[in-house]
Amino acid sequence: MSKTYYDPADLRKFGNITEWDEELGNKFFEYYGKVFEDGALTAREKALIALAVSHTEQCPYCIDAYTKDTLQRGVTKEEMMEAIHVGAAIKSGATLVHGVQMMNKVNKLDG
């Protein structure tokens, strides 16, 4: 067994998930491929969204994959970092907006 939870080489084996459930695996990859095609959003815009979400999900495989993917699409370092800040802003905002819940509760219990 691997001594670490994550092995970068495992990303290459992602497709192997179909081996234990071919139908669902194939459906997933078909859906995944379709999602990232040019549509109302360009594939480049989608790749930047994916990069930001990869960070908020803290998925090391996804970060590797979409860093490379965005580089391939000519995305600059500045654009990549700005995208991550969008994700970070939502993450921190999501934490802080719960402060209202705390305030409501304090006001009710101790107002």
């Binding site: 290459r12 040019d38 360009t42 594939a43 480049r44 490379k68 580089l71 391939q72 699409r73 000519g74 600059t76 370092k77």
Partner: protein
């Protein structure tokens, strides 16, 4: 950023046999990845055979004013290999009679060959449909004696194909050297000024994009759109088409891959992106590459790896187009670079 070629640095990787050894050992020897021969055999595409010649590519020398990180030629100011006028004359004899529709001059910086202008003037007389010169752009601004190159190209109806790794200064200079971006922009504006690259102009100006690191190029059409938008908005520059080219794992790019510990991942990427449809149109099947000393190769990459054509005809002086047709193409693992994704050639994507 390197300032000297691998040859000048006496690096191991300046030797083509060392490069071929690396490309055949390790992950390809232990069966982790299939060799290129095994891969194309899966779809009955081995041996690759040369079709009718369409593109005659002549490398007039390895000297260059730049020392780009990715250069597959290991070109630079310290390279002294230069095509002589005698060899050029032998090439002209071939150019006058070839059935090829495209003549493609490359280097190094071809303009640095002292007989470059004479050769272009003579070659232009042959009336080949598409006469390409691969210009690195900065040469046009490198010295006063080159300032008139846009006019010279125009006079001989040369199709200019130029490298431009990105539309931003940072990414361009990282790969090609400090100041390259600004000089390239100025050179493009000067080419535009004489009519090159303008929307309805017959003076063709195409750009070549190749990635600045250990990743593959994105979709050519999308990249072209992004390049056009940025170069127009930022600098008012026009050009016709963008060719997206994959960096092949040889010479300085191989050196970079190994030094940055990206070699295995990069080879995995190439193999995973293998596209049998690209094999059908791979450029070695319709191209012939002539080296500065007149020897013949299936492509510029094989030239740098010193893998000559598999034919009785080895040199431009004994050139015979019929004998060369149908020859078996010489392959190794670097060939995966031309068959990844949409494929890659000196004319961009092939699939």
């Amino acid at each position: 950023m390197a300032t000297k070629s691998l040859h000048k640095r006496e690096s191991d990787l300046a030797q083509s046999n060392r490069q071929l050894e690396i490309l055949s050992n390790g992950i390809f020897q232990n069966g982790e990845l299939p060799t290129f021969k095994a891969k194309i055999s899966e779809t009955n595409q081995f041996p690759l055979k040369a079709k009718k010649l369409e593109i005659l590519q002549i490398n007039v020398g390895y000297m260059c004013n730049q020392v780009c990180d990715h250069c597959h030629v290991d070109a630079g100011p310290d390279r002294k290999e230069i095509m002589t006028r005698d060899t050029m004359q032998q090439c002209l004899d071939v150019i006058k009679n070839t059935g090829a529709h495209t003549l493609d001059l490359t280097g190094g910086a071809p303009e640095m060959n002292p007989d470059f202008r004479w050769f272009v003037e003579e070659a232009a007389k042959a009336g080949i449909k598409d006469f390409i010169v691969r210009s690195n752009l900065t040469i046009i601004r490198a010295n006063k004696k080159y300032y008139d190159l846009p006019e010279f190209f125009k006079k001989h109806n040369v199709h200019v194909v130029s490298s431009m790794p990105h539309w931003t200064r940072g990414k361009t200079d990282k790969q090609r050297g400090d100041g390259v971006f600004d000089k390239s922009i100025k050179a493009l504006q000067e080419l535009n000024a004489v009519g090159y690259g303008m929307p309805d102009s017959d003076l063709r100006l195409d750009l070549v994009y190749n990635p600045s690191g250990a990743f593959l190029p994105g979709d050519q059409a999308s990249m072209e759109k992004d390049f056009k938008k940025a170069l127009m908005e930022d600098f008012g520059i026009h050009f016709h088409n963008l060719f997206a080219i994959t960096n092949l794992p040889i010479s300085r790019f191989l050196d970079y891959l190994i030094a940055s510990e990206n070699y295995e991942d990069y080879m995995y990427q190439l193999v995973e992106a293998y596209n049998p449809a690209a094999v059908t149109n791979v450029m070695c099947t319709n191209t012939l590459s002539v080296s500065w000393d007149g020897y013949l190769y299936d492509c510029d990459f094989n030239q740098m790896l010193e893998l000559p054509v598999n034919s009785k005809v080895k040199h431009i002086s004994e050139y015979n187009e019929e004998l060369l047709e149908g020859r078996n193409i010489v392959i190794s693992q670097h060939c995966y670079g031309c068959t990844a994704g949409a494929g890659s050639s000196c004319q961009g994507s092939v699939a």
